[in-house]
Symmetry: C2
Subunit: 137 residues, 2 copies
DNA sequence: AATTCATTTGCAACAATGTTGCAAATATAG
DNA sequence: CTATATTTGCAACATTGTTGCAAATGAATT
């Protein structure tokens, strides 16, 4: 599905900023940070605009946010767009990329009495295949 | 084990700030943020001192860091102090507390070919038992 | 095409979190 | 008590994110 269709489907105005973000994230193959998106996106948008766009796109189930430690925030397409289940994420400590591990579903954990879960985040940190090879180990 | 012993054991100088942090985190029953620690700790320490203390204590396996979304950072005792295995964490969206779920170990996931894991973080978000009751649902 | 109106954008200002360099203070060993 | 390496506090700065408000823009209507 095209960015424009995704926006129309949710009654969101199609601005060049939103379109561009969706387009980029769609074709990236990895989650992208605000900075990475700004670098690759033509048309210099204000930081405020980006933050508000991310928020809107997230609230409408177009993007999902992955946070590594603090301060490193990345975005990927949401499951309502990709039709994938909740999955784990992999953060490569070498190249700082975040990838969705679509084959590793997030299982529901047995919580203590009285606890109710709403969402579960699984973040695996390590070295990705590409960086592993380059280490020539 | 007492804070002083923990510090001595690792050849770290026992300063009142480090001692205080360990003492607090030890008796808190939940993970504490920089702000929470500062509020409860006598002796006004500089923010810089806290950040450097956390870093030192983390590097020496005394504390471990739990990050919720971005910007919310909490600390709890590390497994090298508690002798517990890696475990999941629960973040209550109502009272903003973070608790270690010692009974929910973090399992190793089967990664794609070539990927190597170093650490895995499992954060479950929802409502804790206390807040659940108060909602009177 | 032009008009209208709600939404979105850019700007400025601000807040929170975290880092770095450096001089003064402090912990520990001798 | 002294010497020395470590730690602390301060100032300055960087980054990330938010808010209010006026200007610009998207999309529906004429």
């Amino acid at each position: 599905m095209k960015p424009i269709e995704i926006l129309n489907q949710r009654n969101l105005k199609r601005t060049s900023c939103r379109e561009g973000i969706i387009e980029l994230v769609m074709n990236a193959g990895e989650a992208l940070s605000e900075n990475e998106i700004r670098e690759r996106l033509q048309g210099n948008y204000d930081r405020t605009t980006f933050y508000r766009s991310f928020k809107t796109l997230e609230e409408h189930g177009i993007l999902h946010k992955i946070v590594v430690d603090n301060l490193l925030v990345k975005y990927a397409l949401d499951k309502t767009v990709t039709n994938l289940d909740d999955h784990a994420h992999f953060y490569c400590q070498e190249c700082q990329t975040v990838r969705c591990l679509e084959n590793i579903p997030v299982t529901r954990f047995q919580l203590p009495e009285g606890y109710q879960d709403v969402a579960t985040e699984v973040l695996i940190k390590g070295t990705c295949a590409t960086c592993k090879k380059q280490q020539g180990s």
